[in-house]
């Protein structure tokens, strides 16, 4: 008789006690819960202080990572209502163009144009998407895939808003450290805000629409109105990202609708884990730096990206975050199995 081993996984005691309510018995348990959170939050907050130590290039990469993280959070909130978007670039581009227009024609300063573009852009996107919110699954995905390209072509064809040249020479943002802290603050506000939102009763309706929209209709709730609200809320961080990057680059053009801004957030969320906002954040902060390192390989990095996307979608759909979380909260030990 041979003895084989299998892995037995057990939840740590602290996990069982703190899954819903935090009943902590010691500093050690407090540290156990806080350490991974503080490591990430502190890491992000401390990064801009490294200004003298790291190349300024990496600060720009950080800015890009925050942008993609905002778009990824936005994607994840839409996905939690069951709206799968293949075109987050639409939000990004609309936010960028509104702020670009306000800045170049009316010469308003960024601290006025960015908030206006954020709210007006999200409102515009929600209005534009309202007629197609009836669609589900891949049909909504098809619409969102084509919308950014439609805007791009319309701008190219009508030559409005600067046409193919875009609008350049916009008011720059102050110093990069300040810019970074602004976007990090917005990022954290969005992250914690969305987490709270989705756990509230209001968020429960969102999740209900995703899981079974018909029963939500049967409960007497107008799901299209809720979906529109979800698109508006999800649009806010994305249009902010667009407006912010427009001022940072001092330029807005058709490249704001580029597929990058749709594919990167999607990949980040899928790799990090769909449905937990922390996954979207983690994915963005992992993928954007990796993508910068791979820049030397030219378009091969897009291939690597796609392979990562396929591997995670097919092989590990729970994403890195849930995987890491599980490992952190569990013991593993081999147990003998008799055959």
């Amino acid at each position: 008789m041979t003895i084989t081993f299998r892995k037995e996984r057990l939840d740590r005691g602290i996990k069982a006690r703190s899954a819903d309510i935090y009943a902590l018995a010691s500093w050690r348990e407090l540290a156990y819960l806080l350490a991974p959170r503080m490591l990430l939050i502190g890491g992000v907050l401390a990064f801009p202080l490294l200004r003298g130590l790291v190349d300024a290039y990496w600060l720009r990469v950080m800015l890009m990572a925050c942008t993609i993280a905002l778009l990824a959070l936005s994607w994840d909130l839409m996905a939690s209502v069951g709206l799968v978007s293949l075109g987050q670039a639409m939000f990004f581009g609309i936010g960028g163009y509104i702020t670009g227009y306000l800045s170049s024609t009316l010469k308003w300063p960024p601290f006025i144009t960015i908030p206006i573009a954020t709210v007006a852009g999200a409102l515009l996107c929600a209005t534009l998407l309202y007629p197609v919110l009836r669609l589900r699954g891949i049909y909504f995905a098809l619409i969102t895939l084509s919308l950014p390209q439609l805007f791009e072509r319309i701008i190219e064809a009508t030559k409005i808003l600067g046409g193919t040249d875009g609008m350049s020479g916009l008011t720059p943002l102050p110093d990069i450290t300040i810019s970074l802290y602004v976007i990090i603050a917005v990022l954290f506000a969005t992250f914690f805000g969305f987490r709270r939102l989705i756990d509230s009763d209001y968020g429960l309706v969102f999740k209900g629409i995703r899981d079974n929209d018909r029963s939500v209709i049967a409960a007497g709730i107008n799901i299209y109105w809720y979906k529109a609200q979800a698109v508006f809320i999800a649009g806010l961080p994305a249009t902010f990202a667009g407006a912010f990057m427009t001022h940072y680059n001092q330029f807005v053009g058709m490249s704001s609708f580029a597929a990058d801004y749709s594919v990167l957030p999607l990949t980040s969320t899928v790799v990090g884990g769909i449905g937990v906002f922390a996954g979207a954040l983690l994915g963005a902060f992992l993928l954007v730096p990796i993508s910068e390192v791979l820049r030397a390989y030219g378009t091969l990095r897009v291939v690597i990206y796609c392979i990562a996307l396929v591997v995670f979608v097919v092989g590990r759909p729970e994403g890195i975050f849930r995987y890491a979380q599980r490992k952190y909260h569990q013991f593993e030990r081999p147990v003998a199995v008799e055959e």
Partner: protein, 290 residues
């Protein structure tokens, strides 16, 4: 002017129908949205090019090999990837989209970007119809397109395999109880769809050069035509192809070529918003889309 619009519109329409045939067939038969069509299209083009120019095979053999190879690639994509995420639409879409982009960008990275990558016409020469000059290759495109549209309609409506495949699309569980193996059928439908995309590629690509961006455009066109026609209706597909093809020529003539893509995209968005099942799509409208 009128005759030229008539003839060019027809050519464009048939090109669109051919491009969309593979995507539409796969979706109609197994509800797998194969977003890798762009990648498969160029894979077929470059495969034919390699067989022809580097291995020196006869043109007909090269084309046949390219079509078969693309079909096999489609089957592999299904067996390796899609079978694991079957039924999860989002995962299917993301996985196939990523595969398509990966294929395209691999070719770009490998340097398949210059003007030497082109396929020769099947026959040289041209013809005059209604005062409009049209070369033989375009006539072949029309012929192949019409033949395939009719052949596929016959295949899906009057053969056992075709009916079985449609059964899977309509109600998978009932089809299973009748002995139709769902995974096998889905693999077959992806393989046939891929092979059809390859046919479209080898017939259409001789009209221009093989460029990577064509691959991205193909996906967009295939989606536009399929969505407009209704994703599971062959007749709808043909009508949608005609509408978009003529719309394309008319916009190019009267508004300017830069408006052509706007017309497509606006068509997708409007149709999905107003009549989500497409012009002639019928079944499962309520459950799947709205």
């Amino acid at each position: 002017m009128f005759a030229s619009i008539l003839v060019n519109g027809l050519v464009n329409s048939v090109i669109l129908i051919l491009t969309a045939l593979g995507f539409s067939l796969t979706f109609g038969l197994s509800r797998v949205a194969n977003f890798a069509v762009g990648g498969l299209y160029l894979f077929a083009g470059f495969a034919a090019w390699i067989f022809l120019r580097i291995l020196g095979l006869p043109y007909a053999v090269a084309i046949l090999l390219a079509i078969i190879l693309t079909g096999i690639l489609g089957a592999i994509i299904y067996q390796v990837l899609l079978v694991r995420v079957r039924g999860i639409e989002l995962s299917e879409v993301i996985a196939t989209f990523a595969v398509g982009v990966a294929i395209l960008e691999t070719f770009r990275w490998a340097g398949f970007v210059t003007y030497e990558f082109n396929l020769p016409s099947f026959f040289k020469g041209r013809l005059e119809i209604l005062g409009t000059v049209i070369d033989y290759q375009r006539l072949i495109v029309i012929g192949v397109g019409l033949f395939l549209a009719v052949a596929l309609w016959w295949f899906t409506h009057h053969t056992k395999i075709g009916l079985g495949l449609r059964g899977i699309a309509q109600d998978e569980h009932t089809a299973l109880t009748l002995g139709i193996e769902s995974d096998w059928a889905a693999m077959l439908s992806v393989a046939i769809g891929s092979a059809l995309t390859a046919v479209a590629a080898v017939v259409i690509l001789p009209l221009g050069i093989i460029s990577i961006n064509v691959g991205y455009e193909v996906l967009l066109l295939a989606i536009a035509v399929s969505v407009l026609g209704g994703l599971e209706s062959t007749v709808g597909l043909v009508i949608a192809g005609l509408i978009l093809g003529y719309a394309q020529v008319l916009t190019a003539n009267f508004l300017g070529p830069q408006w052509m893509l706007v017309v497509y995209l606006a068509a997708i968005v409007t149709v999905l918003a107003v009549r989500p099942s497409g012009l002639l799509g019928r079944f499962k409208e309520i459950e799947e889309r709205v």
